[in-house]
Protein backbone atom coordinates (compact mmCIF):
# COMPACT_ATOMS: atom_id res chain seq x y z
CA UNK A 1 0.00 0.00 0.00
CA UNK A 2 1.17 3.46 -0.84
CA UNK A 3 0.58 5.69 2.10
CA UNK A 4 -1.38 8.88 1.62
CA UNK A 5 1.71 10.77 2.72
CA UNK A 6 3.69 9.43 -0.19
CA UNK A 7 0.90 10.26 -2.57
CA UNK A 8 0.69 13.78 -1.25
CA UNK A 9 4.46 14.10 -1.65
CA UNK A 10 4.38 12.98 -5.25
CA UNK A 11 1.49 15.27 -5.98
CA UNK A 12 3.40 18.23 -4.58
CA UNK A 13 6.39 17.29 -6.62
CA UNK A 14 4.29 17.06 -9.75
CA UNK A 15 2.68 20.43 -9.09
CA UNK A 16 6.12 21.89 -8.77
CA UNK A 17 7.21 20.34 -12.05
CA UNK A 18 4.16 20.63 -14.20
CA UNK A 19 4.62 24.16 -15.42
CA UNK A 20 8.38 23.93 -16.01
CA UNK A 21 7.77 20.71 -17.97
CA UNK A 22 5.32 22.41 -20.30
CA UNK A 23 7.70 25.31 -20.64
CA UNK A 24 10.47 22.93 -21.62
CA UNK A 25 8.28 21.16 -24.16
CA UNK A 26 7.24 24.53 -25.57
CA UNK A 27 10.84 25.73 -25.82
CA UNK A 28 12.08 22.50 -27.34
CA UNK A 29 9.28 22.29 -29.87
CA UNK A 30 9.60 25.81 -31.21
CA UNK A 31 13.38 25.92 -31.00
CA UNK A 32 13.56 22.72 -33.01
CA UNK A 33 11.10 24.09 -35.52
CA UNK A 34 12.97 27.36 -36.00
CA UNK A 35 16.42 25.81 -35.96
CA UNK A 36 15.32 23.43 -38.69
CA UNK A 37 13.81 26.30 -40.65
CA UNK A 38 17.14 28.14 -40.44
CA UNK A 39 19.46 25.14 -40.57
CA UNK A 40 17.81 23.14 -43.34
CA UNK A 41 18.46 25.64 -46.15
CA UNK A 42 22.01 26.09 -44.89
CA UNK A 43 22.55 22.32 -44.92
CA UNK A 44 21.13 22.09 -48.42
CA UNK A 45 23.37 24.92 -49.62
CA UNK A 46 26.40 23.22 -48.05
CA UNK A 47 25.69 20.09 -50.06
CA UNK A 48 24.73 21.48 -53.44
CA UNK A 49 27.53 24.04 -53.58
CA UNK A 50 30.14 21.39 -52.86
CA UNK A 51 32.58 20.30 -55.54
CA UNK A 52 30.95 18.49 -58.42
CA UNK A 53 27.44 18.85 -57.00
CA UNK A 54 24.41 20.33 -58.70
CA UNK A 55 25.21 23.98 -57.95
CA UNK A 56 28.95 24.00 -57.35
CA UNK A 57 30.10 27.24 -55.72
CA UNK A 58 33.24 26.60 -53.73
CA UNK A 59 33.58 30.13 -52.41
CA UNK A 60 30.08 30.22 -50.93
CA UNK A 61 30.59 26.69 -49.63
CA UNK A 62 33.78 27.64 -47.85
CA UNK A 63 32.42 30.84 -46.31
CA UNK A 64 29.30 29.13 -45.07
CA UNK A 65 31.27 26.18 -43.74
CA UNK A 66 33.60 28.46 -41.82
CA UNK A 67 30.78 30.52 -40.31
CA UNK A 68 29.06 27.34 -39.18
CA UNK A 69 32.24 25.97 -37.68
CA UNK A 70 32.92 29.17 -35.79
CA UNK A 71 29.39 29.24 -34.40
CA UNK A 72 29.63 25.64 -33.38
CA UNK A 73 32.90 26.12 -31.57
CA UNK A 74 31.62 28.94 -29.37
CA UNK A 75 30.45 27.39 -26.07
CA UNK A 76 26.69 27.35 -25.99
CA UNK A 77 26.39 29.25 -22.76
CA UNK A 78 28.43 32.12 -24.23
CA UNK A 79 26.42 32.09 -27.41
CA UNK A 80 23.19 32.18 -25.52
CA UNK A 81 24.27 35.16 -23.44
CA UNK A 82 25.47 36.94 -26.54
CA UNK A 83 22.24 36.33 -28.39
CA UNK A 84 19.80 37.01 -25.56
CA UNK A 85 19.68 40.76 -26.29
CA UNK A 86 18.48 39.85 -29.77
CA UNK A 87 15.47 38.22 -28.13
CA UNK A 88 14.23 41.60 -26.99
CA UNK A 89 14.29 42.73 -30.59
CA UNK A 90 12.40 39.72 -31.85
CA UNK A 91 10.00 38.70 -29.07
CA UNK A 92 10.10 41.83 -26.89
CA UNK A 93 11.50 40.22 -23.75
CA UNK A 94 14.70 38.59 -22.53
CA UNK A 95 13.24 36.34 -19.86
CA UNK A 96 11.01 33.31 -19.97
CA UNK A 97 10.74 30.42 -22.39
CA UNK A 98 9.62 32.53 -25.33
CA UNK A 99 12.75 34.62 -25.06
CA UNK A 100 14.88 31.48 -24.79
CA UNK A 101 13.56 30.19 -28.08
CA UNK A 102 15.50 32.89 -29.93
CA UNK A 103 19.03 31.96 -28.78
CA UNK A 104 18.18 28.25 -28.76
CA UNK A 105 17.06 28.30 -32.39
CA UNK A 106 20.03 30.30 -33.50
CA UNK A 107 22.50 28.24 -31.50
CA UNK A 108 21.10 24.95 -32.78
CA UNK A 109 20.84 26.05 -36.42
CA UNK A 110 24.51 25.39 -37.32
CA UNK A 111 24.22 21.96 -35.75
CA UNK A 112 21.09 21.29 -37.77
CA UNK A 113 22.87 22.49 -40.92
CA UNK A 114 25.64 19.91 -40.40
CA UNK A 115 23.18 17.15 -39.56
CA UNK A 116 21.14 17.88 -42.69
CA UNK A 117 24.31 18.15 -44.73
CA UNK A 118 25.53 14.72 -43.72
CA UNK A 119 22.12 13.17 -44.39
CA UNK A 120 21.81 14.70 -47.84
CA UNK A 121 25.34 13.65 -48.70
CA UNK A 122 24.29 10.03 -48.32
CA UNK A 123 22.05 10.31 -51.36
CA UNK A 124 23.52 8.23 -54.16
CA UNK A 125 24.92 10.48 -56.88
CA UNK A 126 23.60 8.10 -59.52
CA UNK A 127 20.03 8.84 -58.48
CA UNK A 128 20.68 12.56 -58.74
CA UNK A 129 22.15 12.05 -62.20
CA UNK A 130 19.16 9.99 -63.22
CA UNK A 131 16.92 12.88 -62.23
CA UNK A 132 19.10 15.37 -64.10
CA UNK A 133 18.78 13.12 -67.13
CA UNK A 134 14.99 13.35 -67.08
CA UNK A 135 15.20 17.13 -67.02
CA UNK A 136 14.65 17.87 -63.32
CA UNK A 137 15.39 21.41 -62.16
CA UNK A 138 17.50 22.34 -59.16
CA UNK A 139 14.52 22.67 -56.82
CA UNK A 140 12.95 19.47 -58.12
CA UNK A 141 16.17 17.60 -57.45
CA UNK A 142 16.33 18.95 -53.90
CA UNK A 143 12.71 18.44 -52.96
CA UNK A 144 11.71 15.44 -55.03
CA UNK A 145 14.93 13.48 -54.89
CA UNK A 146 17.46 14.45 -52.24
CA UNK A 147 15.08 15.03 -49.35
CA UNK A 148 12.78 12.03 -49.92
CA UNK A 149 15.77 9.76 -50.52
CA UNK A 150 17.46 10.80 -47.28
CA UNK A 151 14.30 11.02 -45.19
CA UNK A 152 15.15 8.17 -42.79
CA UNK A 153 18.47 9.77 -41.98
CA UNK A 154 16.93 13.25 -41.78
CA UNK A 155 14.41 11.98 -39.23
CA UNK A 156 17.21 10.59 -37.07
CA UNK A 157 19.11 13.86 -37.44
CA UNK A 158 16.14 15.87 -36.28
CA UNK A 159 15.64 13.48 -33.37
CA UNK A 160 19.22 14.17 -32.40
CA UNK A 161 18.51 17.89 -32.69
CA UNK A 162 15.49 17.67 -30.39
CA UNK A 163 17.54 15.91 -27.74
CA UNK A 164 20.37 18.37 -28.12
CA UNK A 165 18.04 21.32 -27.81
CA UNK A 166 16.57 19.82 -24.68
CA UNK A 167 20.06 19.85 -23.22
CA UNK A 168 20.64 23.41 -24.38
CA UNK A 169 17.28 24.47 -22.97
CA UNK A 170 18.33 23.34 -19.52
CA UNK A 171 21.25 25.72 -19.81
CA UNK A 172 18.97 28.46 -21.04
CA UNK A 173 17.04 27.87 -17.84
CA UNK A 174 20.10 28.90 -15.90
CA UNK A 175 19.84 32.43 -17.16
CA UNK A 176 16.14 32.93 -16.83
CA UNK A 177 14.73 30.86 -19.63
CA UNK A 178 12.40 28.86 -17.40
CA UNK A 179 11.67 25.20 -17.89
CA UNK A 180 13.02 22.12 -16.19
CA UNK A 181 16.59 23.37 -16.22
CA UNK A 182 15.53 26.44 -14.31
CA UNK A 183 13.64 24.27 -11.81
CA UNK A 184 16.60 21.98 -11.26
CA UNK A 185 18.86 24.90 -10.58
CA UNK A 186 16.51 26.80 -8.32
CA UNK A 187 15.46 23.87 -6.18
CA UNK A 188 18.14 21.29 -6.59
CA UNK A 189 21.18 23.55 -6.65
CA UNK A 190 20.25 26.70 -4.80
CA UNK A 191 17.92 25.19 -2.19
CA UNK A 192 19.54 21.78 -1.86
CA UNK A 193 16.28 19.95 -2.54
CA UNK A 194 17.96 16.92 -4.02
CA UNK A 195 14.66 15.13 -4.55
CA UNK A 196 13.51 17.82 -6.98
CA UNK A 197 16.80 17.61 -8.81
CA UNK A 198 16.49 13.84 -9.13
CA UNK A 199 12.86 14.05 -10.19
CA UNK A 200 13.82 16.54 -12.89
CA UNK A 201 16.56 14.29 -14.14
CA UNK A 202 14.18 11.34 -14.28
CA UNK A 203 11.70 13.36 -16.28
CA UNK A 204 14.46 14.43 -18.65
CA UNK A 205 15.63 10.84 -19.08
CA UNK A 206 12.10 9.73 -19.84
CA UNK A 207 11.72 12.58 -22.30
CA UNK A 208 14.95 11.71 -24.12
CA UNK A 209 13.99 8.05 -24.22
CA UNK A 210 10.55 8.79 -25.67
CA UNK A 211 11.93 11.18 -28.30
CA UNK A 212 14.62 8.71 -29.35
CA UNK A 213 12.13 5.87 -29.63
CA UNK A 214 9.69 7.91 -31.66
CA UNK A 215 12.57 9.04 -33.88
CA UNK A 216 13.80 5.49 -34.43
CA UNK A 217 10.29 4.29 -35.16
CA UNK A 218 9.55 7.03 -37.67
CA UNK A 219 12.91 6.65 -39.35
CA UNK A 220 12.34 2.92 -39.82
CA UNK A 221 8.86 3.56 -41.04
CA UNK A 222 9.96 5.90 -43.83
CA UNK A 223 12.93 3.71 -44.77
CA UNK A 224 12.14 1.55 -47.79
CA UNK A 225 15.73 1.06 -48.90
Amino acid sequence: MVSSNTLQYLLNLWQLMEEPLWESLYMVFFSTLFSVIIGMPLGIILVITDKGHIKENLKLNQILGTVINVMRSVPFIILIIAIFPLARLIVGTTIGPTAAIVPLSIAAAPFVARVIESSLKEVDWGVIEASISVGASLLQIIFKVMIPESLPSLVLGITLTVINILGYSAMAGAIGGGGLGDLAIRYGYQRFQTDVLIATIIVLIIFVEIVQRIGNYLSKKVDKR
Partner: protein
Protein backbone atom coordinates in the same frame (compact mmCIF):
# COMPACT_ATOMS: atom_id res chain seq x y z
CA UNK B 1 19.38 12.00 -85.69
CA UNK B 2 22.40 12.46 -83.47
CA UNK B 3 25.36 14.18 -85.10
CA UNK B 4 28.56 14.38 -83.14
CA UNK B 5 31.19 16.62 -84.66
CA UNK B 6 34.81 17.04 -83.56
CA UNK B 7 33.85 16.24 -80.00
CA UNK B 8 36.60 16.39 -77.41
CA UNK B 9 36.40 15.97 -73.67
CA UNK B 10 39.18 16.77 -71.25
CA UNK B 11 38.78 16.26 -67.51
CA UNK B 12 40.87 18.51 -65.31
CA UNK B 13 41.39 17.25 -61.82
CA UNK B 14 43.94 18.81 -59.49
CA UNK B 15 45.64 20.53 -62.36
CA UNK B 16 46.06 17.29 -64.27
CA UNK B 17 44.34 16.87 -67.60
CA UNK B 18 42.86 13.58 -68.69
CA UNK B 19 41.88 13.50 -72.33
CA UNK B 20 38.86 11.21 -72.44
CA UNK B 21 37.65 11.92 -75.98
CA UNK B 22 39.58 13.19 -78.96
CA UNK B 23 37.94 14.55 -82.05
CA UNK B 24 34.99 12.18 -82.21
CA UNK B 25 32.80 12.27 -85.31
CA UNK B 26 29.74 10.11 -85.35
CA UNK B 27 26.30 10.12 -86.89
CA UNK B 28 23.51 8.03 -85.48
CA UNK B 29 20.37 7.84 -87.58
CA UNK B 30 16.82 7.72 -86.32
CA UNK B 31 15.63 4.29 -85.28
CA UNK B 32 19.09 2.77 -85.16
CA UNK B 33 20.49 0.72 -82.34
CA UNK B 34 24.02 1.98 -82.13
CA UNK B 35 26.62 0.20 -80.04
CA UNK B 36 29.72 1.78 -78.60
CA UNK B 37 32.30 -0.64 -77.38
CA UNK B 38 35.77 -0.38 -76.04
CA UNK B 39 37.96 -1.39 -73.16
CA UNK B 40 37.66 0.13 -69.72
CA UNK B 41 38.72 3.76 -69.74
CA UNK B 42 38.35 4.09 -73.50
CA UNK B 43 35.88 6.94 -73.05
CA UNK B 44 32.57 5.20 -73.67
CA UNK B 45 30.73 6.69 -70.72
CA UNK B 46 32.18 10.11 -71.43
CA UNK B 47 30.87 9.92 -74.98
CA UNK B 48 27.34 8.85 -74.11
CA UNK B 49 27.15 11.35 -71.24
CA UNK B 50 28.10 14.16 -73.60
CA UNK B 51 25.04 13.35 -75.69
CA UNK B 52 22.64 14.51 -72.95
CA UNK B 53 25.16 16.96 -71.48
CA UNK B 54 25.66 15.10 -68.22
CA UNK B 55 29.22 15.95 -69.15
CA UNK B 56 29.90 19.21 -70.87
CA UNK B 57 32.03 18.70 -73.98
CA UNK B 58 35.34 20.56 -73.98
CA UNK B 59 34.95 21.32 -77.67
CA UNK B 60 32.99 20.21 -80.67
CA UNK B 61 29.29 20.02 -81.25
CA UNK B 62 26.40 17.67 -80.66
CA UNK B 63 23.30 18.08 -82.77
CA UNK B 64 20.16 16.22 -81.88
CA UNK B 65 17.57 16.56 -84.60
CA UNK B 66 19.37 19.70 -85.61
CA UNK B 67 19.45 21.25 -82.13
CA UNK B 68 22.90 22.24 -80.93
CA UNK B 69 23.04 20.73 -77.44
CA UNK B 70 26.15 22.57 -76.33
CA UNK B 71 24.57 25.99 -76.76
CA UNK B 72 21.26 25.48 -74.98
CA UNK B 73 20.12 27.59 -72.03
CA UNK B 74 19.48 25.58 -68.83
CA UNK B 75 15.73 25.52 -69.32
CA UNK B 76 15.98 24.52 -72.98
CA UNK B 77 18.44 21.80 -72.03
CA UNK B 78 16.06 20.43 -69.41
CA UNK B 79 13.28 20.29 -72.00
CA UNK B 80 15.59 18.56 -74.45
CA UNK B 81 16.58 15.99 -71.84
CA UNK B 82 12.95 15.04 -71.40
CA UNK B 83 13.13 13.59 -74.89
CA UNK B 84 16.30 11.61 -74.18
CA UNK B 85 15.85 8.70 -71.81
CA UNK B 86 18.80 7.17 -70.03
CA UNK B 87 19.36 3.82 -68.36
CA UNK B 88 22.21 3.01 -66.04
CA UNK B 89 24.34 0.09 -64.98
CA UNK B 90 23.29 0.45 -61.36
CA UNK B 91 19.69 1.36 -62.22
CA UNK B 92 19.76 4.55 -60.12
CA UNK B 93 16.19 4.21 -58.91
CA UNK B 94 14.65 6.22 -56.10
CA UNK B 95 15.03 3.66 -53.34
CA UNK B 96 12.45 5.28 -51.10
CA UNK B 97 9.79 5.33 -53.82
CA UNK B 98 7.64 2.58 -55.24
CA UNK B 99 7.94 1.22 -58.75
CA UNK B 100 4.93 3.33 -59.64
CA UNK B 101 6.49 6.51 -58.26
CA UNK B 102 9.79 5.80 -59.99
CA UNK B 103 8.13 5.47 -63.37
CA UNK B 104 5.90 8.47 -62.70
CA UNK B 105 8.89 10.57 -61.67
CA UNK B 106 9.86 11.99 -65.10
CA UNK B 107 6.19 12.79 -65.75
CA UNK B 108 5.85 14.60 -62.43
CA UNK B 109 9.01 16.51 -63.27
CA UNK B 110 7.38 17.47 -66.56
CA UNK B 111 4.24 18.55 -64.65
CA UNK B 112 1.98 16.13 -66.47
CA UNK B 113 -1.39 15.92 -64.75
CA UNK B 114 -2.12 13.05 -62.41
CA UNK B 115 -4.77 11.20 -64.36
CA UNK B 116 -2.54 11.16 -67.44
CA UNK B 117 0.37 9.94 -65.31
CA UNK B 118 -1.72 7.10 -63.93
CA UNK B 119 -2.65 5.91 -67.38
CA UNK B 120 0.83 6.25 -68.77
CA UNK B 121 2.48 4.41 -65.88
CA UNK B 122 0.04 1.53 -66.26
CA UNK B 123 0.89 1.33 -69.96
CA UNK B 124 4.59 1.31 -69.16
CA UNK B 125 4.20 -1.34 -66.48
CA UNK B 126 2.64 -3.42 -69.19
CA UNK B 127 5.47 -2.78 -71.64
CA UNK B 128 8.12 -3.85 -69.13
CA UNK B 129 5.96 -6.62 -67.73
CA UNK B 130 5.94 -5.48 -64.11
CA UNK B 131 2.24 -5.00 -63.44
CA UNK B 132 2.32 -7.10 -60.29
CA UNK B 133 5.17 -5.00 -58.83
CA UNK B 134 3.43 -1.66 -59.11
CA UNK B 135 3.60 -0.89 -55.40
CA UNK B 136 6.82 -2.71 -54.61
CA UNK B 137 9.95 -0.84 -53.57
CA UNK B 138 13.19 -1.29 -55.54
CA UNK B 139 14.78 -3.16 -52.64
CA UNK B 140 12.17 -5.87 -53.17
CA UNK B 141 13.09 -6.37 -56.83
CA UNK B 142 15.70 -8.45 -58.62
CA UNK B 143 18.36 -6.76 -60.74
CA UNK B 144 16.50 -7.51 -63.93
CA UNK B 145 13.27 -6.12 -62.53
CA UNK B 146 15.06 -3.00 -61.34
CA UNK B 147 16.42 -2.47 -64.83
CA UNK B 148 12.92 -2.87 -66.23
CA UNK B 149 11.80 -0.10 -63.95
CA UNK B 150 14.76 1.94 -65.20
CA UNK B 151 13.69 1.30 -68.77
CA UNK B 152 10.08 2.22 -68.04
CA UNK B 153 11.28 5.42 -66.43
CA UNK B 154 13.40 6.20 -69.48
CA UNK B 155 10.37 5.62 -71.71
CA UNK B 156 7.93 7.67 -69.65
CA UNK B 157 8.25 10.93 -71.56
CA UNK B 158 8.04 9.22 -74.98
CA UNK B 159 11.67 9.93 -75.77
CA UNK B 160 13.11 9.90 -79.26
CA UNK B 161 16.39 8.51 -77.96
CA UNK B 162 17.44 6.15 -75.22
CA UNK B 163 20.99 6.15 -73.91
CA UNK B 164 22.15 3.01 -72.18
CA UNK B 165 25.39 2.94 -70.22
CA UNK B 166 26.28 -0.68 -69.47
CA UNK B 167 22.64 -1.43 -68.72
CA UNK B 168 23.18 -5.16 -68.56
CA UNK B 169 26.64 -5.32 -67.02
CA UNK B 170 25.29 -6.00 -63.55
CA UNK B 171 22.98 -8.76 -64.72
CA UNK B 172 23.36 -12.49 -65.33
CA UNK B 173 23.26 -13.83 -68.92
CA UNK B 174 19.61 -14.90 -68.89
CA UNK B 175 18.43 -11.62 -67.46
CA UNK B 176 20.69 -9.79 -69.89
CA UNK B 177 19.01 -11.55 -72.75
CA UNK B 178 15.54 -10.60 -71.59
CA UNK B 179 16.57 -6.97 -71.13
CA UNK B 180 18.14 -6.92 -74.60
CA UNK B 181 14.96 -8.35 -76.07
CA UNK B 182 12.97 -5.69 -74.31
CA UNK B 183 15.19 -2.96 -75.75
CA UNK B 184 14.93 -4.52 -79.18
CA UNK B 185 11.14 -4.58 -78.98
CA UNK B 186 11.03 -1.00 -77.83
CA UNK B 187 13.19 -0.01 -80.76
CA UNK B 188 10.99 -1.90 -83.22
CA UNK B 189 7.68 -0.86 -81.74
CA UNK B 190 8.30 2.81 -81.10
CA UNK B 191 11.17 3.48 -83.47
CA UNK B 192 13.24 4.88 -80.62
CA UNK B 193 16.92 5.37 -81.37
CA UNK B 194 19.01 3.50 -78.85
CA UNK B 195 22.65 4.17 -78.08
CA UNK B 196 24.19 1.30 -76.14
CA UNK B 197 27.49 1.26 -74.38
CA UNK B 198 28.91 -2.07 -73.52
CA UNK B 199 32.03 -4.09 -73.11
CA UNK B 200 30.08 -7.28 -73.74
CA UNK B 201 30.37 -8.62 -77.24
CA UNK B 202 27.09 -10.47 -76.93
CA UNK B 203 25.23 -7.21 -76.43
CA UNK B 204 26.59 -5.79 -79.66
CA UNK B 205 25.97 -9.04 -81.50
CA UNK B 206 22.38 -9.49 -80.35
CA UNK B 207 21.19 -5.95 -80.27
CA UNK B 208 23.04 -3.46 -82.39
CA UNK B 209 22.78 -2.47 -86.04
CA UNK B 210 25.94 -0.43 -86.01
CA UNK B 211 28.91 -0.22 -83.78
CA UNK B 212 31.80 2.13 -83.06
CA UNK B 213 34.92 0.88 -81.36
CA UNK B 214 36.58 3.34 -79.02
CA UNK B 215 40.17 3.20 -77.97
CA UNK B 216 41.98 5.87 -75.97
CA UNK B 217 39.24 8.36 -76.69
CA UNK B 218 39.22 7.83 -80.44
CA UNK B 219 36.93 5.92 -82.73
CA UNK B 220 39.17 3.35 -84.33
CA UNK B 221 36.56 1.40 -86.16
CA UNK B 222 32.98 2.05 -87.09
CA UNK B 223 30.36 0.44 -89.24
CA UNK B 224 27.69 -2.22 -89.53
CA UNK B 225 27.94 -4.86 -86.86
CA UNK B 226 28.00 -7.61 -89.47
CA UNK B 227 30.96 -6.09 -91.28
CA UNK B 228 32.97 -5.68 -88.14
CA UNK B 229 32.13 -9.14 -86.93
CA UNK B 230 33.14 -10.73 -90.14
CA UNK B 231 36.20 -8.63 -90.63
CA UNK B 232 37.56 -6.77 -87.66
CA UNK B 233 40.39 -4.53 -88.74
CA UNK B 234 41.83 -3.42 -85.43
CA UNK B 235 43.41 -5.17 -82.50
CA UNK B 236 40.75 -3.94 -80.12
CA UNK B 237 37.88 -5.31 -82.13
CA UNK B 238 39.75 -8.55 -82.57
CA UNK B 239 40.27 -8.81 -78.89
CA UNK B 240 36.55 -8.39 -78.46
CA UNK B 241 35.92 -11.05 -81.00
CA UNK B 242 38.28 -13.45 -79.32
CA UNK B 243 35.40 -15.60 -78.17
CA UNK B 244 34.49 -16.13 -81.79
CA UNK B 245 37.89 -16.50 -83.32
CA UNK B 246 40.02 -19.44 -82.44
CA UNK B 247 43.47 -18.68 -81.25
CA UNK B 248 46.12 -20.74 -82.92
CA UNK B 249 47.50 -23.59 -80.90
CA UNK B 250 51.28 -23.30 -80.77
CA UNK B 251 51.96 -26.62 -82.49
CA UNK B 252 50.40 -25.51 -85.75
CA UNK B 253 52.20 -22.22 -85.84
CA UNK B 254 54.30 -22.21 -88.91
CA UNK B 255 57.14 -20.38 -90.43
CA UNK B 256 55.81 -17.11 -91.79
CA UNK B 257 58.62 -17.06 -94.32
CA UNK B 258 57.57 -20.29 -95.96
CA UNK B 259 55.70 -19.28 -99.14
CA UNK B 260 54.22 -22.75 -99.59
CA UNK B 261 52.13 -22.68 -96.47
CA UNK B 262 49.75 -20.06 -95.14
CA UNK B 263 47.17 -19.88 -92.42
CA UNK B 264 44.08 -18.08 -93.56
CA UNK B 265 41.09 -16.80 -91.72
CA UNK B 266 38.05 -16.90 -93.94
CA UNK B 267 34.97 -14.96 -93.02
CA UNK B 268 31.77 -15.48 -94.80
CA UNK B 269 28.34 -14.18 -94.20
CA UNK B 270 24.92 -14.38 -95.68
CA UNK B 271 24.62 -16.61 -98.69
CA UNK B 272 28.24 -17.55 -99.08
CA UNK B 273 27.93 -19.90 -96.15
CA UNK B 274 25.54 -22.05 -98.13
CA UNK B 275 27.89 -22.72 -101.03
CA UNK B 276 30.62 -25.30 -101.26
CA UNK B 277 33.30 -22.71 -101.99
CA UNK B 278 36.09 -24.55 -100.23
CA UNK B 279 35.59 -27.78 -102.11
CA UNK B 280 35.48 -25.88 -105.39
CA UNK B 281 38.75 -24.26 -104.48
CA UNK B 282 40.41 -27.58 -103.73
CA UNK B 283 39.15 -29.02 -107.00
CA UNK B 284 40.15 -26.08 -109.15
CA UNK B 285 43.53 -25.20 -107.68
CA UNK B 286 46.42 -27.35 -106.80
CA UNK B 287 46.29 -26.75 -103.05
CA UNK B 288 45.71 -28.78 -99.96
CA UNK B 289 43.51 -27.53 -97.17
CA UNK B 290 43.58 -28.45 -93.55
CA UNK B 291 40.77 -27.08 -91.44
CA UNK B 292 41.94 -25.87 -88.05
CA UNK B 293 38.76 -24.49 -86.59
CA UNK B 294 35.51 -22.98 -87.57
CA UNK B 295 32.30 -21.58 -86.28
CA UNK B 296 29.16 -19.86 -87.37
CA UNK B 297 27.36 -17.24 -85.40
CA UNK B 298 24.18 -15.37 -85.89
CA UNK B 299 24.70 -11.66 -85.85
CA UNK B 300 21.45 -9.77 -86.02
CA UNK B 301 19.65 -11.84 -88.63
CA UNK B 302 22.61 -12.96 -90.68
CA UNK B 303 25.09 -15.72 -90.34
CA UNK B 304 28.70 -14.87 -89.85
CA UNK B 305 31.12 -17.73 -90.24
CA UNK B 306 34.77 -17.87 -89.43
CA UNK B 307 37.02 -20.60 -90.65
CA UNK B 308 40.68 -21.08 -89.94
CA UNK B 309 42.49 -23.14 -92.53
CA UNK B 310 45.99 -24.10 -93.34
CA UNK B 311 46.55 -24.01 -97.05
CA UNK B 312 49.62 -25.54 -98.69
CA UNK B 313 50.81 -25.69 -102.23
CA UNK B 314 52.84 -23.69 -104.71
CA UNK B 315 53.05 -20.02 -103.94
CA UNK B 316 51.24 -19.07 -107.14
CA UNK B 317 48.49 -21.63 -106.54
CA UNK B 318 47.90 -20.25 -103.08
CA UNK B 319 47.62 -16.74 -104.52
CA UNK B 320 45.12 -17.86 -107.13
CA UNK B 321 43.11 -19.77 -104.56
CA UNK B 322 42.89 -16.72 -102.35
CA UNK B 323 41.74 -14.64 -105.30
CA UNK B 324 39.09 -17.26 -106.04
CA UNK B 325 37.78 -17.13 -102.48
CA UNK B 326 37.65 -13.36 -102.55
CA UNK B 327 35.71 -13.41 -105.80
CA UNK B 328 33.20 -15.65 -104.09
CA UNK B 329 32.42 -13.05 -101.47
CA UNK B 330 34.62 -14.32 -98.68
CA UNK B 331 36.89 -12.15 -96.67
CA UNK B 332 40.38 -13.44 -96.34
CA UNK B 333 43.01 -12.61 -93.87
CA UNK B 334 46.48 -14.09 -94.05
CA UNK B 335 47.62 -14.63 -90.52
CA UNK B 336 51.07 -13.66 -89.46
CA UNK B 337 52.84 -14.81 -86.35
CA UNK B 338 49.88 -16.86 -85.32
CA UNK B 339 48.00 -13.76 -84.22
CA UNK B 340 44.39 -14.03 -85.00
Amino acid sequence: MIEIKNLSKVYSTNGKDVVALKDINLTISDGEIYGIMGLSGAGKSSLIRCINMLEKPTSGSILINGVEMTKLKPKELRNMRKKIGMIFQHFNLLMNSTVYENIAFPLKISKVNDSVIKKRVDELLDVVDLKDKKYAYPSQLSGGQKQRVGIARALANNPAIILSDEATSALDPTTTESILNLLKNINKQYGITIVVITHEMSVIRNLCDKVAVLEDGRIIEEGNVIDIFSNPSTETSKRFLKDMIAELPPDILLDDENPNEEILRLSFFGNSSNQPVISHMIKNFDVEVNIISGNIERVQNSQVGNLLIKISGKESSIKDAIKFLENNGLRIEVLKNGIV
